[in-house]
């Protein structure tokens, strides 16, 4: 059994909160540059140029890429041979508190969805725990902006709706969202499981680099097909028209009940941020 102090987790979370908000991951940067090369519509090209200029300024001047520095989604993969000394939950929240305060990030969390008083330190984080083999702890911080989160949807399809039903629903969600979630977007899809599991899979799909396809060929092909279909809608960057409506479609799947076909679509904007460190 390996011992690990919760303070170490706290310090990593703090660092990842700041880093993720100021530096766009390389997979996203490459994907946006490639989209710019393939874009022919003038307005769309201008917007993509601005987007590229913006994340450059953010990295060079240590400013957040976007003012919505999000709710902190923290994914922990905890090795079953690790013994953490101290409260993990407290450590994560203290890391978020320090990261958002010391990193000049926006505090966007309200303590109760109905009384809507800001907690002032961006806590609590949304924490997802996975127990895995080994003696390491993998920590991913993904600040999630709500302009895109608000455009996400879930549906409990019938088995008879089948593959076509899944495709139609993905396109419907993107069409409904239109210009609102700051396209070009990244589309996270969860298929199967239960009502909540599908939503979790969709969120998890957004953690996968945009240049990595599903390892199962059927889903990898579905991801490519849906990206082409979405980019034929013409919504374009910021909704002003163009090819580049989405940068990637990432799909995760899971077995489900004989009576069900849950599908969740979690939308992310062009500022798809996540940073990972292993302790």
């Amino acid at each position: 059994m390996r011992d690990l102090n919760a303070e170490e987790i706290r310090d990593v979370v703090k660092r990842l909160c700041i880093d993720a908000n100021c530096r766009l991951p390389s997979d996203m940067r490459e994907c946006i540059s490639k989209a710019r090369e393939n874009e022919k519509w003038d307005t769309a090209c201008e917007i993509l140029d601005r987007i590229i200029e913006n994340y450059g300024i953010a990295a060079d001047t240590d400013r957040p890429i976007c003012q919505d520095t999000g709710v902190a989604c923290v994914f922990l993969k905890i090795g079953q041979d690790v013994h953490i000394k101290g409260s993990i939950e407290d450590a994560v929240n203290e890391g978020v508190r320090r990261g958002y305060t010391e990193g000049y990030l926006r505090k966007s969390v309200v303590r109760d969805p109905l009384d809507r008083v800001n907690t002032g330190d961006n806590t609590p984080a949304m924490i997802y725990y996975d127990i895995v083999p080994g003696d390491k702890v993998e920590i991913t911080v993904a600040p999630k902006g709500f302009g895109s989160e608000n455009m996400s949807q879930i549906i409990m399809l019938k088995p008879s709706d089948g593959l076509q039903g899944v495709k139609d629903f993905i396109l419907k969600v993107v069409e409904d969202a239109g210009p609102n979630p700051c396209p070009p977007i990244v589309v996270g899809v969860g298929v199967g499981g239960t009502f909540d599991k599908a939503a979790y899979l969709a969120k998890k799909a957004l953690m996968r680099p945009v240049n990595v396809r599903n390892e199962k060929p059927f889903y990898a092909e579905l991801e490519r097909e849906m990206l082409d279909k979405i980019n034929a809608l013409g919504i374009g960057p910021q909704g002003f028209g163009g090819k580049t409506t989405a940068l990637a479609v990432n799909i995760e799947w899971f077995p489900t009940h004989i009576a069900g076909l849950p599908v969740a679509v979690n939308i992310n904007c062009h500022v798809t941020r996540h940073k990972t460190e292993v302790l």
Binding site: E53, I65, Q67, S108, G147, P181, G234, Q238, F240, C269
Partner: protein, 185 residues
């Protein structure tokens, strides 16, 4: 060439702007988003004076990140506008002539814009670091308790926007997309 606009923006000048126009805004604009709009409309309902001069004002839907030492403001890009739809018709009727945000608006907002003469500008969403460079001065003038959602008076220089919906109801989200799709035929 982008049009240069000075705020405050009269209703007459707002009516001259057309959907699709690229503009650079200079002058004073005010920030407000969900919570501030709610409070402003509660004051208006009671017939009380608002904490900002609403006549001919342009409101920017933004909740900036905190400013570091020596900076007027942190990152400051637009938030999604439809959440302000419940409140905008009231403010437009009181004299608001410009709104800066991103995303769709309701038919009620567009009706108020047509009736009174107001324009809906879009700034590029997710470009907060870039846009913050156009903000020269920022000062909280109301609702400090709301933090990022407080009402701020911003002095901006050449702040880049595009007219999404004009005072006749023309909508760049519809025309831009259609023009692109038609170009493929």
């Amino acid at each position: 060439m982008p049009k240069r606009i000075k705020t405050p923006l009269s209703r007459e000048d707002a009516r001259k702007l057309k959907s699709g126009d690229s503009c650079l805004i200079s002058g004073v604009i005010y920030t407000a988003r969900d919570a501030a709009h709610k409070r402003l409309c509660e004051l208006a309902a009671k017939g009380e004076e608002l904490p900002l001069p609403i006549r001919d004002a342009t409101i920017y839907y933004v909740g900036p990140t905190p400013a570091k030492e020596g900076q007027p403001i942190g990152s400051a890009g637009p938030t999604t506008s439809y959440r302000m739809d419940a409140y905008s018709p009231t403010l437009i009727a009181l004299g608001e002539t410009g709104m800066i945000g991103k995303g769709k608006r309701s038919p009620e907002v567009v009706d108020a814009m047509k009736k009174h003469g107001a324009v809906y500008f879009g700034a590029i969403g997710g470009c907060g670091a870039l846009l913050s460079r156009c903000v020269k001065k920022a000062e909280v003038i109301a609702y400090e308790d709301l933090g990022a959602e407080a009402v701020r008076r911003l002095e901006v220089e050449d702040f880049p926007v595009v007219v999404i919906i004009d005072s006749e109801g023309n909508n760049l989200y519809e025309t831009g997309r259609k023009a692109y799709l038609d170009s493929l035929k």
